[in-house]
Symmetry: C2
Subunit: 413 residues, 2 copies
């Protein structure tokens, strides 16, 4: 239990390139923004920054929703806040499941006490919209929940039309865009989704610890029907709801909205440095331009795919629905996938990802997200992968990966 | 909905001195630590930093508990994680209540579905240990919950002997030390408390957004009796519990321990920058020396009290049980408390606090916490308070506050 005299020394992480499924390296502007000093939580400058963050995340979500804000916790905190506020115990929750994060939605729903219906497809596939329509008709769910891009399988679920289906059936809809926000188009209003949550640590190029969320007017009405303001701070201008109290205080979106809204009703103490980070992530993304940013991720993903194929590797999953920012690569027969990852980390300071569940030991995941969706980082990664593969006894055409990736990067999007 | 061309500009908060009940200004070393780049969440350097944070928080909590770690969220997230993991629906939860944060414990317990018993005293008092003993005997609670220092009343509840009472009655115990950790002694093992949680944004001089927690072996056993590992990541070496599943996924301390422990079972993505901040907060505190740090807070609190009294102001609450790091000051009759606060903020860039509930409009709260528990900051604050009071028509002896504070600071602790 004795601590070293230097108390483990200053923070000094290796200068590593994170080319896995996230977290990735943060944009330096985001890291610098966190160096700003704190403010009192109701100081006008602080509430001003909160309002700015609300405005900055609307275009990133593709929404006009007034209630676009941050949940203080990791992306998973955003998911739980959305589900616990939307789903009442006993409600039917239909989960559209095509990977590990679909299973997480089920898990959270079960803990809330929902009746769960799963619409599942094998890993590597997405769910056809007509199957979703049939499941909604069959189960008449109160809430439909889905992941946009599931990094566990590298697939992106098409969402056009989902909102119309849900609204026609009287269901509320929820989508987790943690793995795509800032990297692929998020079109909350066009999709017609009621609640959407994300995280900073993937294509937004920030640290984990803040979960952007947007909430439609329809969902706001539902959530405020469950508003039960905390003892001792209730006020006459806040109408209490008749619906069942939300089972979490921390994730009660009604109280979180009353904190972010004009009421400024005290709830948690806003995580100020993470707010600064989230604000700067959005400024970086909007400053680049969202279309340019999405195109950059397309180039990066395309380059990884082309490079891996040129090395003689097979790509996992359905080409039509692949996420642009993370690519599953089959580990070739006879090659120790962990030995390759270890060489890349130890010799090149590059991290690529392993996999969960049915893909564990079978597939690497190579990400190119946010600040790392860059030409030179993709090329360096493919060069290192080639060297590590060769060292492990895999035969591949020298330099072919880098050449193919460079060419794929330069093709017009 | 149109954003300004500069997307609201770079983050640039005013250089304000935060002398309220928290958050306070962060220590510059903590802000700098957050500038370090991210790591993959299972990289050996990352898990190394997690292990170091565990070791660094043990002395700060005054414990040998193996399970000393961070919950990713604000201090309130730590409270909810503790209660939702300890309290099973239907359990009796005894809340020792002497302020707003006692009401919060009740609120969270109700949402979990506990039977709540309140042991309450008026704001400004603390609860005698014999009253606690009687309440434990009367209600035979499964869990006893209490706040250490409640900033809403500036009172610190004595906790010596609480653990013995709880253990003798077979109850688990929980204490929230958000407002005292790093500023007043926390003696988890000596007090015999099972689960204790804190936050960074007060006497530890960091940003809100990470909640240090420590868990006794007895509580760990109870929590693992409720372990129900998430679908798709369960492993044969993790024994599932027979107890009722914890109703939150994000706050399931069994899964959080399996993530921080040798299993390294994926749960949330650790909030890396906040981990760096928490680690540096602890290094700063231990580097100063905890006894010296507590003495510094005593000097600061004593100086605020002496200074305010010398200005002719009355101090709120029971002298014997006052927190050293925040002081309640009665707003004198005929003076507009908000006008004084506004002058201090606008003319001096100094923030002091308002109050909640029964003290609203009656008491200011002047904090001197962490990086702000310093002689010059207390003196500057008292000088500004005097000027603001005078401008609002209050008569007070010129310079008396600063002189008295300086003298009180210099007295031996």
């Amino acid at each position: 239990m004795t601590l070293p005299p230097d108390l483990y020394g200053q923070i000094d992480p290796p200068h590593r390139l994170l080319m896995g499924p996230g977290p990735v390296n943060a944009h330096p502007r985001v890291l610098r923004a966190m160096g700003a000093d704190l403010l009192g939580q109701f100081d006008p400058e602080m509430t001003g920054y909160m309002n700015e963050a609300m405005a900055l995340y609307r275009p990133i979500f593709g929404t006009q929703n007034r209630w676009t804000l941050l949940v203080d916790g990791t992306a998973r905190a955003g998911i739980e806040a959305a589900l616990v506020s939307l789903v009442t115990p006993g409600d039917t929750l239909l989960v559209i499941d095509f990977g590990r994060f679909g299973l997480l939605l089920r898990e959270i729903g079960e803990r809330i006490g929902a009746r769960i219906e799963m619409l599942s497809v094998p890993w590597g596939k997405t769910v056809p919209m007509d199957a979703i329509a049939a499941a909604i008709e069959r189960h008449a769910p109160a809430v439909v929940a889905c992941v946009h891009g599931d990094t566990s399988t590298t697939m992106a679920q098409p969402l056009e039309g989902l909102g119309v289906l849900c609204r026609a059936a009287g269901a509320l809809s929820y989508v987790d865009v943690t793995a795509t926000i800032g990297g692929m188009e998020i079109a909350v209003d066009r999709w017609g989704i009621d609640v959407v949550t994300g995280g900073l640590q993937k294509c937004l190029g920030g640290p984990s610890g803040s979960a952007p969320i947007t909430i439609s007017e329809r969902a706001v009405e539902h959530i405020f029907s469950r508003r039960h303001t905390e003892h001792g701070i209730a006020r006459s201008d806040l109408v209490q709801g008749m619906g069942r109290r939300i089972s979490s205080n921390y994730f009660d979106l009604a109280m979180i909205m009353d904190y972010w809204g004009e009421q400024r009703l005290n709830h948690h103490t806003e995580a100020t440095s993470m707010l600064y980070a989230a604000r700067e992530c959005a400024r970086v993304a909007l400053g680049e331009g969202l279309d340019a940013r999405y195109a950059r991720h397309v180039r990066a993903g395309r380059a990884v795919v082309a490079g891996a194929r040129a090395l003689g590797l097979r790509i996992f999953g359905d080409d039509r629905f692949r996420m642009s920012n993370v690519t599953g690569v089959h580990i070739p027969g006879g090659i120790d996938g962990e030995a390759v990852r270890r060489r890349m980390r130890q010799d090149f300071e590059i991290e690529i990802g392993t996999s969960f569940g049915p893909l564990h030991g079978k597939v690497w995941r190579i990400g190119a997200m946010g600040y790392n969706a860059m030409k030179h980082k993709v090329l360096i990664t493919l060069g290192a992968l080639e060297a590590a593969l060769r060292a492990e006894g895999f035969r591949c055409p020298a330099g072919a990966g880098v050449d193919a990736a460079l060419s794929a990067w330069e093709d017009p999007v």
